[in-house]
């Protein structure tokens, strides 16, 4: 297995994530697509770390990203929950007002 295979996998994941972010109207689906983009980045970190030097900085970065993603998911789900409470929908196009 060489580096290119990982990068291709990561690129596919990133593209899928981006596609999801752009096309989906559902807030939760957008959130999930963002997770895909983040994981694509994680794969890149690990792959570059494995194939360049033999240190663990890539791994450390990945760990941080995972923790950040978890935190982000928590905050974002809370926001979406509030949006649902206020607008009665989690379609992000409907949430176009700063207040009611």
């Amino acid at each position: 297995m060489d580096l290119n295979s990982y990068l291709i996998i990561s690129a596919i994941l990133f593209s899928l994530g981006l596609f999801g972010v752009i096309t989906r109207r559902n807030g939760v689906a957008v959130l999930m697509s963002i997770e895909l983009i983040l994981n694509a980045a994680n794969i890149n970190f690990i792959a570059f770390s494995r194939y360049s030097g033999m240190d663990f900085s890539g791994h450390i970065f990945s760990l941080f990203v995972i923790i950040l993603a978890a935190a982000e998911a928590a905050v974002a789900l809370a926001i979406i929950l509030n949006i649902f409470n206020n607008f009665g929908s989690i379609n992000i196009d409907d949430a176009n007002k700063m207040s009611q």
């Binding site: 981006l18 972010v21 096309t23 992000i92 196009d93 176009n96």
Partner: protein, 681 residues
């Protein structure tokens, strides 16, 4: 010394400025201010004069020069010159001016523009002192115009009268003719010397910087100014008309001082006149003297007689300059200033009395200045009569008076010149005949005004002697005609040696290769001609007085019969030789006609085709340009085009801004892809 000069110059100016702005509001309408300033001027002049007598130095001279401004390499210098001639002139001007101011307080009392009158008098005194004190031609020219202005203002003082307004305009315009000549003369000298100072002028001439021809022309141009201001033939026409002004003004400006400015200028410039120029000057003076005297014989207006007499006497002074006896001319100027101012003030007193009498009788038609309406005023106005008689005696040239001495000196100078150059005998002839006429017309005036039967009993009864403000100046001026004032310490009434002739020394001519006799030689010859001149002038004076006595006093010879026999001559004289009419017919009318034709050309051709043509071309051009370029192209294409582009792009571009975040993300993505593609290329 110089401080005195500056004070004498500026005091009247100060009083003018105050009087013209706030004169009306001052107590007594401000006359005390003008009188005070001119009286101080007189005291300063008098102290200068006394100092001059104590110094007794013919060559005394103080000069102060300032740089007015720099113009490249040119330093324009002006300054003040005080020498004996200056001091004597200052004394004359300030004395006559003071007396006229005092006299005017009574004469002008009822005038509504009283304070303006005094303001103008102060302006005149300032300007006249300026002429006298200037040591350069530019300064003289500036003040020359200023006296012209004040003369204009004062002649036209009663501008409600149309004749006065016209007379002031005439005086101004006629003077302009001479002044243009003077300006050309000044510039001719300035262009070669680069300085206006007399000192540099004398130096330049004596070093031969000019050819004789240039000098003649430049000298005559400068003399043209004197011809205008001193009312010499043929520019004398303004002076008789100037009598429309108040009589004290006539005494101050048109008899004693301003008209003498031309003569004064000729004195200052004598050293640079060439023989040719001097000959022309002498003839102009002689012709003026005799010609004005003939006119004066037949005039009936008392002031007109005196006006022509002034013209005639100024002719004498110019004649004296022309024959080289110019110190005697200056002597005549000074003596004449006193007694002619006196005569004018006396006539003013008579007119004042006549005017009041008419006013009392409610007669507004009769002419208060016409001598035919007077007569027998001797007993009613004794002070005026005796003052006027004494001044008349002085003017006629009878011994024991100053007028005798100065006129005799001028005639002696003329005689000396004629005996040396016999082909110029006309000068003496003119001079002596003018003296004959002078004696005649002056005594005619006296006999008509003060003797004989009054024309109207009612008017006669209402005549009163003038108040003391008016009679005091008369007494002072007429007593100044006594010979001793001018010949002290010489008590011989027939000789003019004295302080005056000692202190006023004539200068030699500076023109290189000058052939006429020098001043010294002239003096020698005048000494020889003196006795003959004395005899001749006395006999012509006696002859003139005798004729006047026979015709107008004892009436042995009837004036009417003479009139019938010499009708043509009388008409010539009465109508002033038709000079005004001739000038009108051959100078003014053709000029107006030419102007009219030029105006027709100007209006119908030039304006119509040229100016209007330009207008039309411009109009059409701008129409075309406006339509094609501005409207069709600029407005329609460029301006509107920008608008349209903006509108179109706006309508398209605003679609991008949907407010949907995902659309923006797509755009970001597309942008990044494009960037990648470009980077790859």
């Amino acid at each position: 010394m110089i401080n005195y000069g500056i004070a004498i110059l500026l005091l009247p100016l100060l009083s003018f400025i105050i009087m013209i702005f706030v004169g009306k509001k001052l107590p007594n309408r401000g006359d005390w201010l003008s009188i005070g300033s001119v009286a101080i001027t007189f005291c300063l002049s008098l102290s200068l004069f006394i100092m001059m007598l104590f110094k007794y130095d013919p060559y005394f001279k103080v000069e102060k020069i300032w740089t007015w401004f720099n113009l490249g390499t040119l330093d324009l210098k002006i300054g003040i010159l005080i020498d004996n001639i200056t001091i004597i002139m200052l004394l004359v001007v300030s004395l006559v001016s003071t007396l006229v101011h005092i006299y005017s307080t009574s004469y002008m009392k009822e005038d509504s523009r009283y304070s303006r009158y005094f303001a103008f008098l102060s302006l005149f005194t300032f300007s006249m002192n300026g002429i006298i004190l200037s040591n350069n031609l530019l300064g003289i020219y500036i003040f020359w115009e200023l006296v012209g202005l004040s003369s204009y203002l004062l002649i036209g003082f009663w501008f409600e009268k149309e004749s006065a307004a016209n007379a002031s305009k005439k005086a101004f315009l006629v003077n302009r003719v001479g002044d243009i000549g003077m300006f050309i003369g000044i510039m001719l000298f300035f262009s070669s010397i680069g300085s206006f100072l007399f000192k540099d002028l004398y130096l330049g001439v004596s070093q031969g910087m000019f050819s004789v021809d240039t000098l003649t022309i430049a000298g005559l141009c400068l003399f043209a100014g004197a011809v205008g201001k001193s009312a010499q033939f043929p520019l004398h026409i303004w002076l008789p008309d100037a009598m429309e002004g108040p009589t004290p003004v006539s005494a101050l400006i048109h008899a004693a001082t301003m008209v003498a400015a031309g003569v004064y200028l000729a004195f200052r410039l004598f050293p640079i006149f060439t023989p040719q120029a001097l000959t022309i000057i002498a003839y102009i003076g002689a012709i003026t003297a005799v010609f004005a005297a003939i006119i004066a014989i037949t005039q009936n207006d008392i002031k007109k007689v005196l006006a022509y007499s002034t013209v005639s006497q100024l002719g004498y002074m110019i004649l004296a300059v022309g024959v080289g006896a110019y110190t005697y001319g200056f002597f005549h100027l000074v003596t004449h200033a006193a007694f002619k101012a006196g005569l004018f003030l006396c006539s003013g007193s008579v007119i004042h009395a006549m005017h009041h009498a008419y006013h009392k009788l409610d007669d507004h038609k009769s002419d208060a200045q016409d001598m035919r309406n007077m007569g027998g005023l001797k007993d009613k106005m004794p002070v005026t009569f005796y003052s006027m008689l004494f001044c008349t005696i002085a003017l006629s040239g009878i011994p024991f008076t100053s007028g005798f001495l100065s006129k005799d000196a001028v005639l002696a100078g003329t005689l000396a010149f004629s005996s040396q150059y016999p082909n110029h005998f006309l000068l003496s002839l003119f001079g002596f005949s003018a003296a004959l006429f002078t004696a005649f017309y002056m005594f005619r005036l006296i006999f008509l005004t003060f003797y004989g039967k009054p024309n109207s009993k009612k008017v006669f009864d209402n005549i009163h002697e003038s108040p003391i403000q008016m009679t005091t100046p008369l007494i002072i001026l007429s007593s100044l005609s006594f010979f001793l004032f001018f010949t002290f310490p010489n008590f011989n009434p027939l000789s003019y040696d004295g302080w005056f002739m000692t202190l006023v020394k004539s200068k030699d001519s500076l023109v290189p290769g000058y052939l006429n006799p020098t001043a010294y030689q002239i003096k020698e010859e005048i000494g020889q001609a003196h006795n003959l001149a004395l005899f001749l002038s006395l006999s012509v004076a006696a002859l003139g007085i005798g004729f006047a006595f026979l015709i107008y006093y004892s009436k042995l010879i009837s004036a009417d019969s003479i009139y019938r026999r010499l009708k043509v001559l009388h008409n010539l004289s009465f109508n002033k030789f038709f000079i005004d009419e001739i000038l009108k017919k051959y100078l003014i009318d053709p000029f107006l006609k030419i102007s009219k034709y030029i105006a027709i050309f100007d209006w119908d051709v030039y304006d119509k085709y040229f100016i209007n043509g330009f207008g039309r071309i411009t109009e059409n051009f701008s129409k075309t340009v406006g339509n094609l370029w501005d409207y069709k192209f600029l407005d329609q294409k460029i301006i509107d085009g920008f608008g349209r582009i903006t509108k179109f792009s706006g309508s398209k571009l605003r679609l991008i801004q949907s407010g949907k975040i995902q659309n923006y993300l797509i755009l970001v993505l597309v942008g990044i892809i494009i960037l990648y593609v470009f980077q790859a290329i």
